[in-house]
């Protein structure tokens, strides 16, 4: 058995490095990924409702395949097909597209929760379709959807370490590098875990509060 002890010096050395990787890469990935996922998700949700049935069915199936296959496989695929892309760009796209399939479901649930009277009123006022969506349905649907989008964003955040497979230098990749160089895996991974916890727990609590507050 090896000698084991927590080395405060190594921890003090690892912490700023990991925090920097966290802010510069992990958070950036989460923010950009979330924006892409939120926009694409809404587009999917609208397309699923507005496109002619056969095309909508194909789209729904494609989204299912993306939702049901692993991130690392999708990362590798995009990495080899679009060799000219930078790894960060690949990361944004794959995270964004992957989670857009979940967010589309959230939007759909939000849209389904709009009462029929709202649609009927829009028809009675002979609002054009685009204006009905923009001014009546989406603003109300968003209210029911936001906490759920937030939850998927947190889930995406916790999936960012999978980007290690294409060599994105996010926090956990850095922790492994640091741990291997200095033989201080304990400190590096413990700190990485605590940083994750410190960021995701308060956000998750906030989402739960928002969910209660925004519920009809």
């Amino acid at each position: 058995m090896n000698d084991f002890s927590w080395d405060w010096e190594a921890a003090a050395e690892a912490f700023p490095e990991l925090l920097r990787a966290f802010v510069e890469i992990t958070l950036l990935l989460t923010v950009v990924g979330t924006i892409i996922a939120a926009v694409l998700g809404l587009i999917w949700a609208l397309a699923l409702r507005e496109l002619p049935t056969p095309i909508a069915k194909v789209l729904a199936w494609v989204l299912d395949v993306i939702r049901m296959t692993p991130l690392p496989l999708q990362l590798f695929f995009v990495y080899y097909v679009f060799v000219e892309l930078e790894v960060m760009t690949i990361a944004y796209i794959v995270l964004g597209v992957h989670y857009s399939t979940y967010m589309a479901e959230s939007y759909r649930a939000g849209i389904d929760s709009i009462r029929k009277g709202q649609w009927e009123a829009a028809t009675a006022l002979s609002l054009p379709k685009s204006r009905t969506w923009r001014a009546v349905i989406i603003p109300q649907a968003l209210r029911a959807t936001l906490p759920s989008l937030g939850n998927w964003s947190i889930a995406m955040f916790k999936d960012t370490p999978f980007l290690i497979v294409i060599g994105v230098a996010e926090m956990v990749t850095q922790a492994r590098r640091f741990g291997a160089n200095e033989f201080t895996y304990v400190e590096a991974f413990t700190i990485a875990g605590l940083i994750f916890l410190a960021a995701s727990y308060p956000t998750a609590v906030l989402m739960r509060r928002m969910e209660k507050k925004l519920a009809y």
Binding site: M1, L73, S106, G179, G193
Partner: protein, 234 residues
């Protein structure tokens, strides 16, 4: 025909990858289910200590990210002198992480069983075991299956972490196959196989859901899996 030949040639490799992926999925799911039920029941216990412990454990495993937990088990535990084989490490990481998510689904479903049902069992002075087995669990079970279904699909995707601890799972095999058979063939097969595996598990859980609803005399509901877990996985 050429495609079929390539597929037949690649099959032994693919099959060995599928076995690792399925092993991790089944082992991870079994452990996750046990963890979810224990933590979920503890979360609604009358003893504040149990509730507290359950809360802390659940929030810890939900909050620290699967890959970090995996690396902790894989790189740090050996420093304590505890060496586990990669497969077991993967199963434990998946089981604890998805078990914590599952505990939220179990807790939510138990809480969603109408209060009158709980009160009824008290009025009949049923023992805890009878109350759970005969009254509460069957109703909660029907409610929790959509959530467990989505978590199962996420767990199958999570098995790709095998790559990070040097297991030759389906993702590894596909990446290898790419070198000899080309990107599109290898990944086409990879996506199809993962989709079929996920769909298989999902269909089984959906069938269990319909059966649970039938046993309760409920009308079957539409499949709604992802909505059921957005809160649990955050």
């Amino acid at each position: 025909m050429e495609l079929l030949e390539s597929l037949l040639d690649a099959w032994p490799q693919l099959w060995s990858g599928i076995q690792i992926t399925l092993g991790l999925s089944l082992g991870g799911a079994a452990l996750a289910f046990a963890v979810a039920v224990v933590l979920g029941l503890a979360a609604i216990s009358e003893a504040a200590v149990l509730r507290g412990v359950s809360r802390v454990v659940v929030e810890f495993f939900r909050g620290t990210s699967l890959v970090v937990q995996l690396f902790w088990l894989f790189f740090v535990l050996p420093q304590f002198g505890l060496r586990m084989d990669s497969m077991l490490t993967g199963i434990i990481a998946l089981g604890l992480n998805y078990g914590a998510y599952g505990a939220e689904v179990v807790r939510g479903s138990l809480n969603a069983v109408p209060k009158a049902q709980w009160e009824g069992t008290t009025a009949l002075s049923m023992s805890w075991a009878t109350k759970m087995r005969r009254i509460i669990w069957p109703q909660a079970w029907a409610l929790m299956l959509p959530g467990l279904n989505n978590l199962m699909v996420m767990l199958v995707k999570g098995t790709a972490l095998a790559l990070l601890i040097f297991l030759h799972d389906l993702t590894f095999v596909v990446d290898n196959l790419r070198r000899t058979e080309g990107t599109y063939f290898a990944f086409g097969v990879g996506f199809a196989l993962y989709y079929l595996i996920s769909l298989g598990f999902s269909s089984i859980l959906r069938a269990l859901e319909l059966r649970a609803q039938r046993k309760l005399g409920l009308k079957p509901t539409k499949a709604q899996t992802t909505k059921a877990t957005a809160g649990a996985v955050a």
